[in-house]
Symmetry: C2
Subunit: 95 residues, 2 copies
């Protein structure tokens, strides 16, 4: 399984765990996972896209509009991803 | 209306427009809005939280699990927001 496949599986498991118990502990797993994603240079829009796919997979009857709304969230996150990468590349140049 | 109120209204309008027409043009509005949010130092997790609230508002019957799933996405985005702010503050120190 490649890196993205592994990350997807991990995110899926955290979501499924959280939907089962809604515990603070599972949220903390999400927090730790976030650091791992950033280290592995996964962009925030990839996570939003993954989240959208997971919802479709877990709830095939979720209203279409809810799924469509993710396109806007995704577009906004692309901007955050870009800004972060620009910052990183500027910093690397300064080092 | 304060800055956050204005941003919320703008995001709400983009989402509503997009759900009506699903046009590339509306997605482009989302892209421009993203730059505005970053300039105004709005964090990515604030947008995810706003998105969650909007879905609840627009679709009160959306499955509870879909809404809960946003807590995990939010937690992950907190990490991205933090990493970005750390980068910014490091860069400011270097300048």
């Amino acid at each position: 399984m490649d890196l993205r496949g592994k990350m997807e599986e991990k995110y899926r498991n955290i979501i499924i765990d959280y939907l089962r118990d809604q515990s603070e502990q599972t949220l903390y797993q999400g927090q730790k996972f976030s650091r791992e994603l950033i280290e592995k240079k996964i962009s925030p829009e990839e996570i939003v896209s993954l989240h959208k796919g997971l919802l479709l997979d877990l709830y095939p009857n979720v209203p279409e509009s809810v799924i469509h709304s993710f396109d806007v969230l995704l577009e906004v996150m692309v901007g955050y991803g870009l800004a972060y990468r620009e910052h990183q590349s500027l910093r690397n140049k300064q080092m």
